[in-house]
Amino acid sequence: MLLTPAEGEALLLSLRISSVAVAGSLPMALACALLLAHRRFPGKLLFDGLVHLPLVLPPVVMGYLLLITLGTRAPVGAWLLDTFGIRLVFNWTGAAVAAGVVTFPFQVRAMRLALESIDPALPSAARSLGASRFDAFVTITLPLMLPGIVAGAITAFAASLGEFGAIITFVSNVPGETQTLPLAIYSAIQTPGNEAAAARLAALSIGLALAGLVLSEVAGRRAQRLIGR
């Protein structure tokens, strides 16, 4: 199955956008997971709801929300453009932001579950052995939640590959810039006589999704073994 250069470009772009989306949102997801798993604070329920909102909100609405905050004439977007010269709209980085926001809950959920499954006595034991709070977090908590981090990242990556609504609403459908696989499939379907391309790209999507699931399983098992379970 050979791809046309344009289709290959869409594939590479999808992989790049998903990688950046996952890598960029991972630290923030970790921070949110830590807050939600270990802290009590006023408004926690609301915060929890906000974090998980992208799971239940139509992606188009997420795209719309991003457009009215990060668009070039929106407050934050204008500031980014004026201060740093960063323009997210019609740009692949904007697509990465959209994919990162929409798949954020997948990461938080997996990390939070992993955190909650760690015996809280273990970090205390590490601290009694002379490790500072941060030291204990890095050497005990983080390695023990690794399977959760990996699982969350892979799920988020796979979901990013398939993100459509938020991306097309926020950064539009620009070939070579924001046209990821699902957008390319959509365009192919919209164009008469392009059924073969649509089929090829759809098959590619299925292959990627399957590979993601298998990889997630393998990585999860390897991480479990790494931490000795």
Binding site: A121, A125, S128, L129, G130, A136, G228
Partner: protein, 373 residues
């Protein structure tokens, strides 16, 4: 010298305990669950801040509410051994052992890796992961890990509670070796009197968040008011004895103490070794005159020190035999018939077979510091 005074309110429950323990030796915190043991451990280790009081070890102050001192957990260097071992599941035994060792100040490294591995017999386990260890092995590794963090104090929180009798028997000799070879203050938390009697020098008896009694274990175990008949614990005095000789013909061992001798079924310990035995109060009978033709081999001339009517049916008697003390539990009726009163002379009768040789515990034969260098 360990000096602890802790006051903490937890809802309706108030813990208010003060005690002192020796600089090298075992201080046992003894009491049922809900007596405040965990609160005191948390305060010593630095896990939770008490409302008031202080925790000092020698000239180091861990906590002093009045002076506003509260050293964080990781700076106190309290070697904490938990009931459930709490080994790090993602690290091999070797890396578990090295975790605290690598974080200890280099200037204070006096307990070496090889010594600890040899002391606890964990050489064959070094490359294994914790899940592949038995309960007793885990506990030995946990003990080694705590020791290697070069602690100022060992805090053993019911370290035997999750082990069955076999595993307990496996790990106790290591702990005794540790007590005798690594001269550290050890705080031993337990609700099992046998464990405490076997290991402790100082006993702190806790109940409902208060220290009911605190002091030398031999003295406390001979007190009549602490272990009444309705207490969940078996009353009995502690006797420190020396193996004086063996009678191989009858398979008996003579044990000498300050005030007399006891014959017990043959022990494995060599002549000269010092042991600690606990003689249960209900195994000590009393006789007004030296009884003839008796199966019991131990008839000891004693002085009645104290008579306490323990409840409607029982009387507890404290006896002295030379410098040693025994406790006897008899019926109140017998006490009246024998006309017992403080200062009177009496004969204490102890059946040899009541003294279980397997529960006799070796004591250090010398007081020489043989701590590993």
């Amino acid at each position: 010298m360990l000096d602890v005074a802790v006051r903490q309110r937890l809802g309706n429950f108030v813990v208010d305990v003060a005690f002192q323990g020796p600089a090298a030796g075992v201080t046992a915190l003894f009491g049922p669950s809900g007596s405040g043991k965990s609160t005191i451990i948390s305060a010593i280790a630095g896990l939770r801040r008490p409302d008031a009081g202080h925790v000092r070890l020698g000239d180091v102050t861990f906590f002093d509410a009045a002076a506003g001192i509260n050293q964080p957990l990781h700076r106190r260097r309290v070697g904490w051994v938990f009931q459930d071992a709490r080994l790090f599941p993602h690290m091999s035994v070797r890396h578990n052992l090295l975790y605290g060792f690598r974080r200890a100040p280099a200037a204070e490294c006096r307990i070496g890796f090889d010594q600890v591995v040899a002391l606890l017999g964990i050489e064959p386990l070094l490359s294994r992961l914790p899940y592949a260890l038995s309960g007793g092995e885990k506990q030995r590794v946990a003990l080694g890990r705590a020791l290697l963090s070069q602690p100022r104090l060992l805090l053993m929180d019911e370290p035997l509670a999750s082990l069955d009798a076999g595993r307990k028997a496996e790990i106790l000799p290591y702990i005794e070796k540790l007590r005798d070879e690594v001269r550290l203050p050890i705080v031993w938390v337990s609700h099992v009197l046998d464990e405490v009697a076997r290991l402790a020098d100082t006993l702190v008896i806790l109940e409902h968040g208060r220290a009911v009694a605190c002091g030398d274990i031999t003295t406390l175990l001979a007190r009549l008011d602490l272990f009444p008949p309705d207490s969940p614990y078996e009353a009995g005095a502690l006797l420190t004895v020396r193996v004086a000789g063996h009678d191989n013909g009858f398979a008996l061992t003579r044990l000498a103490f300050d005030g007399g001798e006891l014959l017990v079924p043959r022990l494995a310990q060599p002549v000269g070794e010092r042991l600690r035995i606990r003689i249960r109060a209900r195994d000590v009978m009393l006789a007004g005159s030296e009884p003839p033709d008796l199966s019991a081999l131990n008839v000891l001339s004693a002085v009645v020190e104290e008579v306490r009517m323990a409840d409607a049916a029982h009387a507890d008697i404290r006896l002295s035999i030379g410098k040693a003390q025994l406790v006897s539990r008899i019926t109140r009726r017998s006490a009246e018939r024998l006309n017992l009163a403080a200062g009177g002379r009496i004969f204490a009768v102890v059946k040899s077979v009541a003294i279980d040789g397997r529960r006799a515990d070796p004591l250090p034969s010398t007081d020489v510091d043989i701590r590993p260098k």
